[in-house]
């Protein structure tokens, strides 16, 4: 009995011990499994959150951050035509080190690269090969130099090992060339083709760099106005460097974005983390006041006018006198063979001062400055309407005439005695007129016939201060504020240097240097209507009007009054007759031109071209400061005469000698017909109804 009980007790004890062990093992397994899982989870978390140094480089190398370049805003013309825009281009970059590595295994790799690039980039195959091979040879020379230095220093073996097997680190330490741009940025089609080549042909070391390309659509017509987009002087960033691109840079630039993505072993994007794609923003569009079609028309007529006059150049501006918008602004330079250069004299030299040849023996001199960039890069051309000054001649007379008239110094009923063609001033200067007229006996006729003698008499009744103040008030001697770089301010004599001689000269449009843009702005005092007549517009290069249209801004009206409205209006009558006389002359000169349909008023001007020696040099003896046989011919008008919508100025530079010999170089002969054609083309385009019957020229007011 006792034994049975003991046996049972022993068995029970055994079972209990076994259970306890089982439970212990089970717990150990559980704990072990959980610990294992915890370790795995911890490791995963650590890998995700804070990978080790060794692993960090690997993980980072699988992430790419790229800048999403902002798109620069477009420059538009006043009707929304694109003048300058941005497209995305891809530039080919070759890594000569990687290509060299690949050639060790596959010598034909370089041939594939050269042939493939030759099909897509704008470089000939021989140039591609030359650039690649020369860069690889230079890299080889660098490697050789490093090897020889290492051997000389006695620590060659590790370096040799590095050079032999680890080109990557060698490239870093020895600054091997690894960035070789090839050609200019490609368009989308060629980019796609090259991507296919890279996939199919295995082009080692060839990559594509994303870049924005600024494109001008009408560079020949508006290049110097639109300007240029390029690198800053430091070469670090791209910005507007010339023209409207520079002027409106702050509005045109957008904001760069960025994208960070994880890529696979081949560099293809796998995914973008949340918040890792920050979109770039596009810059604002800017709508210029220029109308591309008007610009084309004006340019076409100017080219014709310059060729007709055998002139060396020409300039033309069309302005809206009410808003101050520059609708068209263009200039032309024409190649004239065998131009001579004046023999300037250096006062520091030992040679005697040369003598200018007699007038009859003088050749045609080169009077306009060179503009070598004009043909190759129109955006870099001088804008001669803003930068080159000239003496306006008789186109300046209406201003002095209006001032004297408004002061009551030129009475309507005064009878003048200007029968002779020349007169001597009280200070001894001889003033001459080109022609004499029997009816040149009143002040209106002085302006109508552009009499120098009459204008001398008129300005003699004004004080120096009055005339000078008026010239300054019209904006001469100061930049117009159009904002384009390089604008000249012109020349107006100081109060100290303003003599009787200056007073007479300024009345005739001499002794003052102006730019075409200053002239059209000043002439707007006659073209503005109503209460605004006699005031100056604020010149603007952006389109005026609706703020809501893309690229437009609101108007700001600044009134600068020079004359009273009545005085400005009074001058229109004689100027209308000037335009009419020009039309009659043009009809004889160009019988095939259609009869004018728009009335206009304006003034012609002819002036000799001033001799301006280079810095440090002086003119030869025997000159009066002007080229005797070389002239500017200009004509400025506002049209239609009753409600002017445009002011047009044409300046033809350096009229050909044949015209001068025939006495046909005056403004009415040369620039007048060009102005008339511009008016006849421009106003219909602007939707202005004709106000003259064809073939009938209206008489003056």
């Amino acid at each position: 009995m006792h034994n049975e009980r003991d046996a049972l007790l022993d068995a029970a004890t055994m079972n209990t011990r076994q259970d306890v062990r089982s439970i212990q093992i089970a717990w150990m397994l559980r704990v072990g499994t959980l610990l294992g899982l915890a370790i795995v989870v911890g490791r995963v978390v650590q890998l995700q959150v804070a990978p080790g140094e060794q692993l960090k480089g690997f993980v980072a190398a699988r992430q790419t951050t790229e800048t999403l370049k902002s798109i620069r805003g477009d420059l538009l013309d006043r009707r929304g035509r694109v003048l300058a825009t941005t497209r995305i281009g891809y530039r080919v970059i070759v890594d000569p080190v990687r290509l060299h590595q690949a050639m060790e295994k596959d010598p034909a790799a370089i041939d594939r690269v050269i042939v493939s690039l030759g099909q897509v980039i704008d470089l000939p195959i021989d140039q591609i090969a030359d650039r690649l091979i020369s860069r690889m040879v230079r890299n080889e020379q660098i490697r050789a130099t490093i090897k020889s230095k290492a051997i000389r220093s006695g620590s060659g073996s590790p370096m040799m090992a590095a050079l032999g097997t680890r080109e990557e680190s060698t490239a870093k330490t020895a600054k091997l060339s690894r960035y070789l741009p090839m050609g200019s940025p490609m368009d989308q089609a060629n980019t796609r083709r090259l991507r296919e080549f890279i996939e199919e042909e295995n082009l080692p070391g060839v990559t594509l760099e994303h870049t924005s390309v600024r494109v001008q659509t009408s560079e020949d017509l508006v290049g110097s106005i639109v300007g240029k987009f390029g690198f800053t002087s430091e070469g670090t960033a791209r910005t507007g460097v010339l023209g409207a691109e520079k002027l409106f840079n702050d509005r045109l630039i957008g904001e760069d974005g960025s994208k960070t993505y994880v890529r696979d072993a081949k560099g293809r994007p796998l995914w973008v983390q949340r918040g890792a794609w920050v979109e770039s923003s596009k810059g604002q569009d800017v709508r210029l006041s220029i109308d591309l079609e008007l610009q084309r028309m004006v340019h076409e007529q100017l080219v014709r006018g310059v060729a007709d006059a055998d002139a060396a150049g020409g300039r033309a501006i069309v302005l809206n006198p009410h808003t101050g918008e520059v609708l068209a602004m263009t200039d032309v330079l024409r190649e004239i063979p065998n131009l001579q250069t004046v023999q300037w004299w250096d006062p520091k030299s030992d040679i005697p001062r040369p003598m200018m040849p007699d007038v009859k023996d003088q050749p045609r001199y080169k009077v306009l400055r060179d503009d070598p960039n004009r043909e190759t890069e129109p955006a870099l051309a001088y804008n001669r309407c803003l930068q080159d000054v000239y003496e306006p001649g008789s186109t300046f007379k209406p201003f002095a005439w209006t001032l004297a008239k408004s002061e009551g110094l030129l009475p309507d009923d005064e009878v003048l005695d200007i029968k002779q063609k020349s007169a001597r001033t009280e200070y001894g200067r001889v003033i001459t007129d080109v022609y004499s007229y029997p009816d040149l006996d009143n002040w209106d006729a002085v302006l109508r016939y552009s009499s120098n003698i009459g204008m001398w008499k008129a300005t003699a009744r004004l004080s120096h201060d009055e005339l000078r103040l008026m010239v300054k008030s019209l904006g001469f001697g100061n930049r117009t504020g159009i904002g384009l770089p390089g604008e000249a301010s012109g020349i107006v004599r100081s109060k100290k240097d303003w003599t009787d001689y200056t007073q007479t000269s300024v009345g005739m449009g001499y002794a003052v240097a102006v730019t075409p843009i200053q002239m059209v702005r000043a002439f707007s005092v006659f073209a503005r209507t109503g209460d605004m007549a006699g005031t100056l517009p604020e010149i603007r290069l952006t389109a005026a009007g609706d703020r809501n249209k893309p690229g437009m801004v609101g108007d700001e009206i600044v009134v600068e009054r020079v004359f009273s409205a009545e005085s400005a209006h009074r001058t229109i009558g004689p100027m209308r007759e000037v335009a009419e006389r020009m039309d009659k002359n043009a009809a004889r000169q160009y019988p095939d031109d259609p009869a004018p349909r728009y009335s206009m008023f304006g003034k012609s001007g002819t002036s000799q071209i001033a001799m301006v020696p280079p810095p440090g040099m002086v003119r030869p003896n025997g000159t009066k400061g002007y080229y005797e046989k070389q002239h500017y011919s200009s004509f400025i008008v506002a049209a239609p005469a009753d409600e002017p919508q445009i002011v047009v100025l044409v300046v033809i530079d350096d009229i050909g000698p044949e015209r001068v010999r025939k006495n046909q170089h005056f403004g009415s002969w040369v620039a007048g017909p060009v102005v008339r054609r511009i008016v006849e083309h421009t106003l219909p385009y602007l939707g202005v109804q004709p106000d003259m019957e064809p073939g009938k020229i209206t008489s003056g007011l």
Binding site: I88, L221, L270, W277, L292, R597
Partner: protein, 125 residues
């Protein structure tokens, strides 16, 4: 048994989590792809826009018309009147013979047939 169940549960949970993560990554990948595709399409659109702008400048349009002999600059308003003619009058007409009242004769400067079948003609004296 409990251990097996525990391991199975943990394992299946892990697999589930991994598959969810994979799906998320797949979706992120597709989104990245879509963004890159959109970016490329935008670039193409800009390029096409640039080409259109370059091809449609006034001087090129004039050159094109001159090459086809159809260019005549509108120096003045070419027409004095513009008349619109309803489709029913246009469809049956073989030629448009237009005369004004009295002695006024008109010349057709230009005429266009519009999409709705009507015609617009510009008349000059």
């Amino acid at each position: 048994m409990k251990l097996v169940v525990l391991i199975l549960v943990c394992g299946s949970s892990g697999v589930g989590l991994l598959s969810v993560r994979q799906s998320r990554l797949q979706a992120a990948h597709e989104m990245a792809e879509a963004r890159h595709r959109t970016q490329r399409l935008n670039e193409q659109a800009r390029e096409i826009r640039t080409r259109i702008a370059q091809a449609c400048t006034p001087d090129r349009v004039v050159a094109l018309l001159e090459a086809q002999g159809q260019y005549s600059p509108a120096v003045h308003h070419p027409a004095k009147w513009m008349v619109r003619i309803d489709p029913e009058f246009v469809s049956g007409a073989e030629s448009l013979d237009i005369q004004g009242g009295g002695d006024d004769d008109f010349k057709i400067q230009h005429s266009w047939i519009l999409e709705d079948g009507s015609a617009v003609i510009l008349l000059n004296e």
